[in-house]
């Protein structure tokens, strides 16, 4: 069991095939989740060694409220990214957070390289490294089925993480699949697992914690539960889900189409959230510990034989995958988008990165910067077949072009030409052509993610605010998010857990010292994360915002390039100051 003051961390060495439970850190200072992951990275990283060096740590962490309140359902994964060689953090749901909580593992640190393709199993009275070499080469879904057969314990109360061919082959944006429908998607955690011969991780969470004495915990849980299952607070996440943003962003000319050559298209009705709900939605499902149920699973029925032979696929969708594997590639049919998402997931690639990379490759082929000798497949916007083939080539790193593209769109663009139209902001863009604040916040955000701060919201709030106000907003919004992800909450819970509610929750769980110190502690964790990021080699000056972003024209008009430059400089100064 973890103490109230420190964390219980399992440090596992794949080379030695053994692990140790260690006591680590001070909860009042690093909180947990994002803060714990950054502190562990700082403690375990090997300076100046490359990301794929097996001595570098691969970290999974949860927070003090994990499993104790609704939507406290995320785990944080941290590592040195094979994409940019620096500190990276990515968040995943599924059952992992609760499995770790009920295995009494606040964090797992994996080091070393296994001699054979292996599966690490950890839990109550379990810590084993299993040879699973026959699974090497299997796709994500086949691997999941085999793992469920291999390990018969803990059904329903375990989490299964696995990689596909992309991770095995070291694609720099290979993802880790978490319990089928969730992922550690971005910046290449899958390639880290692959480089360590770690095909899968199973966490078995069969234990419990005592509830705090008295009735306060029960009362507060019910209050939170009633709020998040009420008619209003979380409706947008459950109803159409994040896919509702497709029509909204298209309407304000902020939805990238065809490698962001344009940001609005009348064909939106074929891929809108409403269309997916009407034609494809099979059901919703949830991460363990979250009654909202935001995971929208689409059903795809596909005829494969002449005598009425059909197969079906269940594919989870959200705004970002529909943007990346849909509008960005000119696909205007919901079923085709699901087909492509399914294939990308199967290969173990991050959907956002892979879709945006293929969007660039399509335009590069159109312009003649590359030829079909490079792309192998005939890539054309709107043509599913070419993309289905290309996904396989990308995961297999089939030739020098795909090896380069698999290292990142900008890497390929530098080699083949076409940097101007590479839709990359630190990593492949998220689907918001909203304006300067988002472009800066992703390009220079700690995770290069739309989830770092709400730059896209600022862009949509009418007239541009002053650069100073914009930076203040982004930094403060990041701090609030860091506090949540240190707990480790789902970021969809932003409205459910304002700071005073988090303090109340921590207090009833017995963390009074943390509850009374959330402002200063979250600022410290925010600074810690930036310190770790810079120490790992982050150079904000080196980040480019390609020309394509400056050419965007949306409902607010053209991009204000002077404002973009000023905001970038000011934000850069602010994060550099935070890290100092």
């Amino acid at each position: 069991m973890a103490s109230k003051g420190s964390f219980r961390v399992l440090v596992y060495d794949l080379e030695a095939g053994r692990g140790d439970y260690e006591t680590f850190g001070n909860r009042a200072e690093i909180l947990g989740g994002s803060g714990l992951a950054a502190a562990l990275f700082e403690a375990h990283r090997i300076p100046d060694a490359p990301a794929l060096d097996p001595r570098q740590p691969l970290i999974f962490a949860i927070g003090p409220l994990t499993g104790c309140f609704p939507l406290m359902s995320k785990a944080i994964c941290a590592f040195a990214s094979p994409y940019h060689g620096q500190y990276a953090e990515t968040h995943g749901g599924g059952r992992l957070a609760l499995a770790m909580r009920f295995a009494h593992i606040d964090a797992l640190v994996v080091r070393g390289r296994a001699a054979k393709p292996s599966c690490l199993v950890a839990g109550i009275r379990r810590l084993q490294l299993h040879d699973c070499h026959p699974l090497w080469g299997m796709d994500v879904f086949a691997t999941g089925k085999q793992l469920r057969r291999m390990f018969r314990f803990g059904e329903g109360h375990r989490s299964i993480l696995r990689i596909g061919p992309a991770g095995e082959n070291g694609v720099a944006y290979a993802s880790v699949n978490v319990d089928t429908y969730r992922h550690f998607g971005r910046l290449g955690a899958g390639a880290i697992m692959g480089s360590r011969n770690l095909k899968a991780i199973v966490i078995d969470g069969g234990s419990s914690l005592p509830t705090p004495p008295g009735r306060d915990y029960r009362k507060l849980y019910k209050k939170c539960y009633d709020e998040v299952t009420g008619p209003d607070l979380m409706r947008k996440y459950h109803d159409l889900g994040t896919a509702e943003n497709l029509a909204k962003l298209n309407a304000i000319s902020a939805l990238p189409w065809d490698n962001m050559k344009r940001t609005r298209d009348d064909a939106i009705d074929g891929v809108s959230g409403e269309r997916f709900a009407k034609d494809q939605l099979l059901r919703q499902t949830a991460c363990a510990g979250c009654p909202v149920g935001c995971i929208h699973v689409g059903l795809m029925r596909e005829r494969f034989g002449e005598q009425h032979e059909y197969l079906y696929r269940q594919v989870s969708y959200d705004y970002e995958p529909i943007f990346a594997a849909g509008t960005m590639l000119g696909l205007t049919d919901a079923a085709k988008v699901l087909t492509l998402i399914d294939e990308i997931e199967r290969q173990g690639l991050d959907v956002m990165s892979a879709g945006v990379a293929l969007g660039w490759a399509t335009e590069a082929l159109e312009r003649g910067d590359v030829g079909e000798a490079e792309t192998i497949a005939a890539l054309r916007f709107g043509d599913l077949e070419g993309y289905m083939q290309a996904v396989g080539h990308l995961a297999a790193r089939a030739n020098p072009f795909y090896r380069s593209l698999g290292q990142g769109t900008l890497v390929a663009a530098k080699e083949y030409g076409g940097e101007d139209y590479a839709c990359v902001l630190g990593q492949e863009m998220a689907g918001y052509a909203t304006g300067e604040a988002f472009f800066v916040s992703q390009a220079l955000g700690l995770r290069h993610s739309h989830l770092d701060s709400a730059g896209y919201t600022l862009d949509q709030q009418g007239d541009r605010v002053s650069v100073e106000d914009a930076v203040d907003f982004l930094i403060e919004d990041e701090r609030k998010r860091v506090l949540l992800t240190s707990m480790a909450a789902c970021l969809f819970a932003r409205s459910a857990y304002p700071e005073d509610r988090l303090a109340e929750a921590l207090a009833v769980m017995g963390y009074d010292d943390i509850a009374g110190n959330l402002g200063p502690a979250s600022r410290k964790v925010q600074a810690l994360r930036w310190r770790v990021r810079f120490a790992s080699g982050f150079e904000p000056d080196a980040v480019t915002i390609p020309k394509r972003f400056r050419e965007v024209r949306n409902a607010r008009g053209p991009i204000d390039t002077a404002y973009l430059g000023d905001l970038r400089q000011a934000y850069q100064q602010a994060i550099t100051g935070l890290a100092a």
């Binding site: 009920f102 109550i124 089925k145 329903g156 234990s207 419990s208 029960r218 979250c290």
Partner: protein, 145 residues
């Protein structure tokens, strides 16, 4: 008239574990998703949907018959009640249950079973659970049988 918990509409279940956590929190003073009277499992991966492992109110109950100390004893109308202070954590109840409805703590071997108290019902966001009138329920089954 005795009522029993029925996981009647599990095709609506999203796997959120709110019911199992409610049982642990409100009945057993635990934060847990597995040491509870109702456990939610997927039937072979999350793509297959969810099922509830919960007492089906046998009458007589084989778990009570197997209990060597009387800690599990018959509940009027089916299923069992539990005298925690008598339990010796032998696990015979779980082995006797044909429906895998008794959970055992992997650390202590202590059993957890649904006693049809209804506290979990309010924590299902999709109305999967209900308290059913036992006689009416079984009468309906007989009529359809």
């Amino acid at each position: 008239m005795a009522k029993i918990l029925r996981a009647a509409r599990m095709e609506r279940c999203i796997g959120c574990e709110s019911c199992s956590q409610a049982c642990a929190r409100l009945v057993h003073d635990l934060v847990s998703w597995s040491l509870t009277g109702i456990r939610i499992n997927s039937a072979g991966g999350i793509s297959t949907g969810f099922e509830a492992r919960v007492c089906v109110a046998c009458d007589p109950a084989p778990c009570a018959e197997a209990c060597p100390t009387g800690a599990f004893y018959p509940r009027p109308g089916g299923g069992v009640r539990v005298k925690e202070e008598l339990c010796i954590d032998c696990g015979d109840c779980a082995r006797a249950c044909p429906y895998d409805a008794v959970a055992l703590d992997p650390e202590t071997n202590h059993p957890y079973v649904c006693t049809h108290c209804a506290l979990c019902v309010a924590f299902c966001p999709h109305d999967c659970l209900e308290m059913a009138d036992l006689d009416a329920f079984r009468g309906r089954e007989a009529a359809h049988g």
